[in-house]
Symmetry: C3
Subunit: 284 residues, 3 copies
Amino acid sequence: YAQSTSVLYGVVDISLAKATGKPVELAGGAPLTNGSSRWGLRGTEDLGGGLKASFNLEAQLDPTTGTGSGGFIRASNLSIAGGFGALKFGRTLTPSYWGVRAWELTSAANYNVVSSQFQYAGLNARNSDEISYTSPSMGGFTVTLGHVLKGDNEGVGKMDLNLIYKNGPWSGGLSYNKLRDKGSNQVVGVSYNFGTVKLAASYHDVTDAGRGKGFTLGASVNTGPILVIVDAARDTENKDTDLLLEGRYPLSKRTFLYAAHTRNGKGKAPTDVNATMFGVRHNF
Amino acid sequence: YAQSTSVLYGVVDISLAKATGKPVELAGGAPLTNGSSRWGLRGTEDLGGGLKASFNLEAQLDPTTGTGSGGFIRASNLSIAGGFGALKFGRTLTPSYWGVRAWELTSAANYNVVSSQFQYAGLNARNSDEISYTSPSMGGFTVTLGHVLKGDNEGVGKMDLNLIYKNGPWSGGLSYNKLRDKGSNQVVGVSYNFGTVKLAASYHDVTDAGRGKGFTLGASVNTGPILVIVDAARDTENKDTDLLLEGRYPLSKRTFLYAAHTRNGKGKAPTDVNATMFGVRHNF
Amino acid sequence: YAQSTSVLYGVVDISLAKATGKPVELAGGAPLTNGSSRWGLRGTEDLGGGLKASFNLEAQLDPTTGTGSGGFIRASNLSIAGGFGALKFGRTLTPSYWGVRAWELTSAANYNVVSSQFQYAGLNARNSDEISYTSPSMGGFTVTLGHVLKGDNEGVGKMDLNLIYKNGPWSGGLSYNKLRDKGSNQVVGVSYNFGTVKLAASYHDVTDAGRGKGFTLGASVNTGPILVIVDAARDTENKDTDLLLEGRYPLSKRTFLYAAHTRNGKGKAPTDVNATMFGVRHNF
């Protein structure tokens, strides 16, 4: 066994938070921190001939209490990659998630308005038992096709795919998922980076997943060290707008302070919560 | 603390499998994968004077879902070794297991017929609370004597031992275990490596553990990169034969593809399952 | 991610033990081992300007069975430290614990009489959701002020603090904790190191935590390789004395053998147990 090929990594993220209906508290998880605290292992092995095998195991925890998830619920998968693209097997972030991540302004922070209003094309960010293929980049485009066998999903097969475009200041993503016996959910989003300012907009039709329809519009402003993000997600069907105002101040490349205020209104979900938090995120 | 002395290691093993009575599925554990996925820590410290202290902690997981075992159920032990041999304390693979492992053809793959028919001298592969002594090699022979105190086993002491012989093409093992208030279980097996072909045969009398009596006979053929194994385990008491046909194709020293077909017939246990699987095992 | 900044560490500690009312057993946890077995991750990042960020995640396990705690219950916290001192957030050992640790003779071994009689200023050694500040050392004195918000403790805020003095042969500690709606618990202790012999004494008033009042008196003698500790903790209110006689023999800097005999008499708690244990502790 070659020790050097596997890397230990993680995140510890804690905030002081106040949400509607709850007291001021030390918070260690979604939606009251920037990221979910985690630890993981990953590694890549060169198989020769341009082929690589890699793995990822990632567990989640609440650092305010130490409570863990009792498993690698964030990631546990195996990939074989080469010139043909990459095959991945196991539990992983969905293609729909990555399609949203391509243009979303907060790098999918726990308190982002896209997920609070529409989740990731209507669904949780992860699939168990996923088999996926990601193409190589072709003129800035990549495609990921994911599938969960009906034998692994109580008799109902699931398709989940994305189309991602990255080219200079442009980033765009199309997310699409469908259970065999239901209709589809879809999202299209795009961002443009002017330099100091980055704008993002998206359209979501995720009624089949029990959410609504609508759009998001947001901007991030990067002034010297401080990054400020404002974002809004409007569910036009259920007449609800979720809002985020966030600022980040980096202490280093791996550690930053953040302040965020969110409004998660009563839309399809009966939530009606405002929250304010001040936190520290440390990546290791 | 010296970081360099502890090593992080593991296995991720996933297959596409079809077993009698179940749909096609992505499988992440026994008996439908070559190995059980795991992660572990181990290290050795030189105490001087030929003495060494070492530890091993090893947890298990299902990589298709990330579900873990919530503990180091595969290994959690401490050893002191020197010229006198090695003392080990804690949870570990049994002497009976190592006695079988000495001659078994698949390196105790999850789908091996020896364990499906007879387990490891009739028992699970691991003991908790084991105290064991392993002798140094004497002319190719080593002995391991294991004991579980009655105070650690609901009032019934357990003895578990092996005698292993390794010399050039020959490997042999005797496994023996006995609960204080019951009869003994025993296995003797041997393998001979002709070079390309390796043969193995064994005799099992494990009725006291609730299994039967019988023998196994198998061969492995190593042609260039591909390894093919055929193995059969016959329970003569319960008139049942378990079969394995397996092929392995290495992608590297740490990663291989495998295809296996197993027949686990109705013997003492009321199982009657055929299974076919195609998988990838990655050691890190 | 920089792999080199995070360190993997731990303890495996197993004893052969006999306690009143129980059979001889292999023991893997308190109070029958020197330490609790554990594994953890920790790291420190230099933020520049004298500032540092650090984290610690530490889980517990019983090595005789491999059973784990399912989380980082021993530590999961994030710190920012600099010339001003250190701020820490999350689950951690309490200030009261460190106030006791400053003078206690066994380095808070699982079988120490201070904790069996009085715990750590009357409480468990750890707080979840703690926010603490530790001052820099000022003439040998450091102060740690800890607080758990009422929002994190079922509506009742908790204060926990210490004052520690270290100067040459002297070590002293004051521990103090108080729930908002209850009285306070307090301990003062001191040790003096004569060289071969070290003496320690302390006074405890922890009735508010459901324990008693009283004192401890003990000595450690370090003769060549062997360390011998005798310690007594007297609850004068409940007329009970707990006793420890311990010897340690180092095999290396990281590994030692120990023998201990404890008497945990019937005081406030209805325990009445004598225990004898022989063990090995390996730090990695």
